[in-house]
């Protein structure tokens, strides 16, 4: 690049800009352009950022999940499931309700350690493939999903089809002789508890890091 032009001086006086001042490096025109564009940027950010925060807000808001009574102790057994309807989102009618399958903890079936939250096992009907509703077929002792053929055994572990992890569960606790259902949590294939994830997000191996838990919904700390 032998014929490259000499680099221009940074001083407007040397560049022979009309009306240049001694020692001036930025022309008034350039300064006006920068200031004008910065003012426009600030004005746009003043409405774009609040609007974005407004739309994204629900991601970081903690969802309220009150304990809901679902029946007396003697309505449930440790051999098969009893369906109960709970309200996940209040005020939107049927769209906010969901079915939960409940049975008593059975040491012959359930391998996970027993604590105050699993005297009753409450299984979510959300299929862990893509979220269709599963139903419990008593004759087969299986949860079966109508959409894409997901099959789960009696404790909710995947026995066939595309689901990526066992069925989600709900915390249960005894309030006197009433069984109450609390927040949802997810489990990996060893039925270890995790903060609730959406369907289609595996929890074995690196799954729990690839699909992080969200501030809106967490498991009960220490469980």
């Amino acid at each position: 690049m032998a014929d490259r032009k000499e680099p221009k001086s940074k001083y407007t006086v040397d560049r022979k800009t009309p009306g240049a001042f001694e020692g001036e490096t930025v022309t008034r025109r350039r300064a006006m352009v920068v200031v004008g564009q910065a003012a426009g940027g600030v004005a746009a950010a003043a409405f774009v950022l609040p609007a974005l925060g407004f739309a994204m807000g629900p991601i970081f808001e903690k969802e309220d999940q009150p304990w809901q009574p679902v029946g007396k102790v003697d309505e449930f057994n440790d051999q098969s499931y009893v369906p109960r309807t709970i309200t996940l989102v209040a005020g939107i009618g049927d769209a906010g309700k969901s079915t939960v399958y409940i049975r008593k903890y059975n040491p012959q079936l359930d391998t996970e350690p027993r604590d105050e939250y699993n005297n009753y096992i409450a299984i979510s009907t959300l299929c862990m493939h893509l979220g269709c509703p599963v139903r419990f077929t008593a004759a087969a002792q299986r949860f079966i999903c109508p959409c894409h053929g997901g099959v789960y055994d009696i404790v909710g572990k995947v026995t066939g089809g595309p689901p990526v992890r066992p069925l989600d569960r709900f915390y249960t606790q005894l309030e006197g002789d009433t069984v109450a259902i609390g927040p949802r949590f997810s489990v990996n294939s060893e039925l270890r508890r995790f903060s609730p994830r959406d369907p289609g997000e595996p929890l074995d191996g690196v799954g729990q890091y690839l699909y992080p838990s969200r501030p809106s919904m967490r498991k009960i700390p220490g469980t």
């Binding site: 629900p58 969802e63 996940l88 906010g96 269709c132 509703p133 994830r197 369907p199 997000e201 699909y211």
Partner: protein
């Protein structure tokens, strides 16, 4: 005081040179109506100079071999316009609340005059638009019309395709029947399977961890305000580039230079 020179007003077609055997000046009601129309158009054009731009955009030279396949793009645009118009009128009766949406659709279908027809236009028209956009894309691909200098228009077209799919997805929820509800649950969960950002994306779409009170209105806002505005803007830019760059000949038309250049080449070879 400096004299301001106004541009000469455009020539009035009615004052063009007279031809023998024809009567001039407005005659009868029809003539007066024609004159009124012409002068109204002239009034606008004198103040905007829009006619030049319109002539530039609409009366272009097209290559030899241009055929019916070249109309698929405009067909997609008219499908979009049909969706826009029917959508605006459906919005007059539709109520995007989780408890009222299904009833309002039933009301549109069963009670509103032509309601089922306009809803049907919108519902079936959406499939028509998706089919047309794919055919248009196929035409562009197989005719090689995505090559230099039209790559940017291909990229814009892909963005328009993605936004059309977004429209199909967000519109599917709005009737709020069983099919809509579960299809949306599945669709949102598919978005959630993307690593790292997926969980946040699905929460953004649902406005929370569960399908909630504002999910439907969120989809409605995306469906009728955000995406259509972006589609209209990008469609305008897409059409500007078509007018600026021109269309390509079909691949079976052989390119021929001007006569004199071909002769010159022959003499050089010899």
């Amino acid at each position: 005081m400096a004299k301001i020179k106004l541009p000469a007003p455009p020539s009035n077609p009615l004052s063009s040179p007279k031809r023998p055997g024809k009567t001039y000046g407005p005659t009868g009601a029809l003539g007066h109506a024609e004159e009124a129309g012409v002068s109204a158009v002239d009034w606008i054009d004198e103040r905007t100079s829009l006619s030049g731009g319109l002539r530039w955009a609409m009366f272009r030279k097209v290559p030899k071999g241009t055929n019916w396949f070249y109309t698929l793009g405009s067909a997609t645009m008219f499908a979009f316009l049909s969706q826009a118009v029917t959508g605006v009128f459906l919005a007059m009766y539709y109520d995007p609340s989780a408890t009222r949406a299904y009833e309002s659709i039933q009301y549109i279908n069963n009670d509103v005059f032509l309601g089922e027809f306009v809803h049907g236009m919108h519902r079936w028209g959406s499939s028509v638009m998706v089919i047309l956009i794919f055919l248009h894309m196929g035409r562009t691909f197989f005719f090689g019309a995505y090559k230099y200098p039209r790559e940017l228009n291909w990229v814009i077209g892909v963005a328009l395709l993605v936004m059309t799919m977004t429209m199909s997805f967000s519109g599917y929820l709005l009737p709020f029947d069983q099919r809509s509800y579960w299809a949306t649950i599945v669709g949102v969960n598919i978005n959630g399977t993307g690593p790292l950002v997926g969980p946040y994306l699905s929460e953004f779409l649902r406005a929370g961890p569960y399908f909630g009170a504002t999910t439907l209105s969120r989809f409605y806002a995306i469906h009728m305000l955000m995406v259509p505005g972006a589609i209209a803007a990008l469609m305008g830019f897409h059409l500007y580039l078509v007018a600026k760059l021109g269309t390509t000949a079909p691949p079976w038309i052989k390119a021929k230079g001007p006569e004199e250049l071909r002769e010159e080449k022959v003499t050089v070879d010899a």
